[in-house]
């Protein structure tokens, strides 16, 4: 057991910080508002990710034969920490790096890999994830969007909701029902967002500019080659994706930066001598650190090639709790900054925590998974 970073890991982190320093504009905070989903950030990502690609920092953990650097999973995690702490200048291209790419390598056909992996590697290609539906949120297996086979094509009808980045994404990895009930009969498709019959509506929300959308699929005709994986094998792919996704964004990296910033503000106004304030800040800090190390333990399992376990859900729930401790601290002691919204970091740090218990499966689903798969408690009848 050893919790020290290797010299190679430290050097990698230093390189990332250097690249961020050189390429984030001076007015980054004002322009991006630390909003992963803003139009500005998404456009910025199309300039910034090619730079990362050029520096070998976009997909460092992918195998060399696919254009990566063949570095271990801890490099992937360090990359995530540094980008998230900076306000995620990759916008939703982090999804390509975290789970679209790895899923593509595992389940994609050769033709799909040849088409999409270079696009992801270019740093100018944004995916969105078409999973949730109006009647299928936490209960994803209830999804109703249908894909009917018509010879060598499929006809897709239905709608998706809460889709992040859909209004500027290039492609959607989406789920549709090709038959069967519940988990049986779900199939994955890769559909261009500009394809006829695909329509997008931005849903105004409290988290970010383009965080959630509705996506409508009306008589969308797609060739069978756009099917991803075998017909009706979608649930296996979904499970794989969710395991990558749930421990995918090191959200705590931004929360910890926000907390440091909040303490600095409180100190300046002489409000950090109050023992209640100090205790709350210390508690939030400790919880964030725990989330970080629980996450690194899951990365350790990934690096060693172990199958995903209920630890993923423990990390996810820990993330929910630590983010809430930070958010409550901000709301209790920096209410002026929060209400006026002028301090971009405080504003964003608070907003982001609004989705932590919802995205990638509700917090209650994580608790169900811990109870069932970690504590081996009986399933409800």
């Amino acid at each position: 057991m050893d919790f020290n970073w290797t010299r190679e890991h430290d050097a990698f982190r230093a390189r990332l910080r250097d690249v961020l320093k050189r390429h984030l504009p001076d007015d980054w905070a004002e322009q991006s508002r630390y909003d992963t989903s803003s139009e500005y950030t998404s456009k910025f990502s199309r300039k910034f990710c090619p730079i990362l690609a050029q520096e070998g920092l976009l997909i460092p953990h992918w195998p060399k034969e696919l254009g990566g650097e063949g570095l271990d999973g801890f490099h992937h995690w360090i990359l995530g920490e540094e980008m998230v702490a900076a306000g995620e200048p990759r916008s939703y291209q982090y999804m390509s790096v975290n789970w679209v790419g790895p899923t593509m390598m595992r389940y994609g056909t050769k033709a799909q890999q040849e088409e999409f992996i270079p696009k992801i590697k270019s740093g100018n290609f944004i995916w969105c994830q078409g999973f949730s539906e109006p009647d299928a949120g936490s209960d994803l297996a209830a999804l109703r969007t249908r894909a009917e086979r018509r010879g060598d094509r499929y006809l897709i009808n239905g709608s998706k909701i809460w889709t992040s980045g859909a209004s500027f994404a290039d492609h959607c990895l989406m789920l549709a029902r090709t038959g069967g009930e519940r988990r049986e009969g779900i199939t994955v498709f890769l559909v261009p967002m500009k394809h006829p019959g695909v329509e997008v509506r931005v849903i105004p929300n409290y988290i970010g500019e383009r965080t959630v959308h509705e996506v409508f699929f009306t008589e969308v005709e797609v060739p069978a080659e756009w099917r991803f994986g075998d017909e009706s094998n979608g649930w296996e792919i979904v499970t794989y994706i969710l395991h990558q996704e749930r421990v995918g964004i090191p959200r705590y990296a931004f929360s910890m930066r926000v907390l440091d910033h909040a303490v600095e503000l409180l100190k300046k106004r002489g409000a950090f001598s109050d023992s209640a304030v100090r205790a709350r800040a210390g508690h939030a800090r400790a919880a964030c650190e725990a989330t970080r190390y629980l996450a690194l333990d899951v990365i350790n399992d990934r690096v060693k090639g172990r199958p995903p376990s209920a630890k993923t859900s423990i990390v996810r729930y820990s993330q929910v709790r630590s983010d809430r401790l930070v958010a409550d601290f901000l709301a209790d002691y920096l209410a002026d900054e929060l209400v006026s919204g002028q301090d971009r970091m405080i504003a964003s740090g608070y907003k982001r925590t609004g989705s932590v218990g919802i995205a990638s499966g509700a917090a209650e689903v994580q608790l169900d998974l811990i109870a069932r798969n970690h504590l081996d408690l009986p399933r409800r009848r």
Binding site: N4, V263, F272, G282, H283, D376
Partner: protein
Amino acid sequence: MDFDLSSDQSVLAEAIDNLVGRHHTLPSVIAAHYLPGDGLDSDLAQAGFFDIARSEGMSALEAVLLVERVARAPVAVEIGASALVVPLALPDHEISRPVALADARAGSPVRFLPGASSLLVDAGSEIRIADVSRLNIEPISSTFAYPFGTLTSAILDASEPLGDVSVELLRQWRRVALATEICGAGKSALDLTVQYVKDRRQFGRPIGEFQSVQHRLAECTMLLASARMMALRAALTGNSLDAAEAASLAQEAGTRIHHETHQFHGAMGITMEYPLHLWTYRLKALQGEMGGLVAQTGAVAALRWDDGEQP
């Protein structure tokens, strides 16, 4: 970065499990607030485990593995001070065990004071030591699952400054030991409860089927995992901030585990016959040690955002 135990550490953990496991058997009638751990204590001494942190090739991590496992046992053994705090905070001192640890507060109950050979006192700006083997210790009849004795002014007066040692270092390793002991007792209390809710049937089904029960036990699991991870980290880094974070999370986890495990046991849990109290009342005793959660999180704040803790 490697979260796996080395093969030597795994072998060691298994050996400790085997040794401690022999003392997990409960008496047919539990008629006391705690079970004395004399048998386990002498087995540990014979195997040389109290010196684990000073043994060649071993350090704080091995001591944490030991303390956690001993704290899982139903019997109460003085382990944290002897195996972790003394060797790490006072490596150049030979201090005879059992060792009681206390803050300089006359009248306060101190764990393991009856039967202790040495007493170490955090007196703010210095550490004081007393040979308590010959002093008259007034045991307290406490429900809190440890042998407690009262720290009197006479005992404090009999103590002497222990020169050339760091108060900060003592506090740091006390926090690691505290966190680790909570993790051990918390794990046993939680394990017992998880099994209980699988077995106990009401409304025609095991109560562990109810989501309200499942979610709360899952939350306890997360809190315990957090505390344990930070205790391991504090052992490996030897960093005072990490130690304060570990103690914070552990005191929080212990409090929650105490409440939930008793809640799910219903009236059974409040009886002395049922063993739950052997661990949960230890958790309660540890909840307020070193000033409790607010003191630990305050220490996190001081170590993270100020220049460290004030005496």
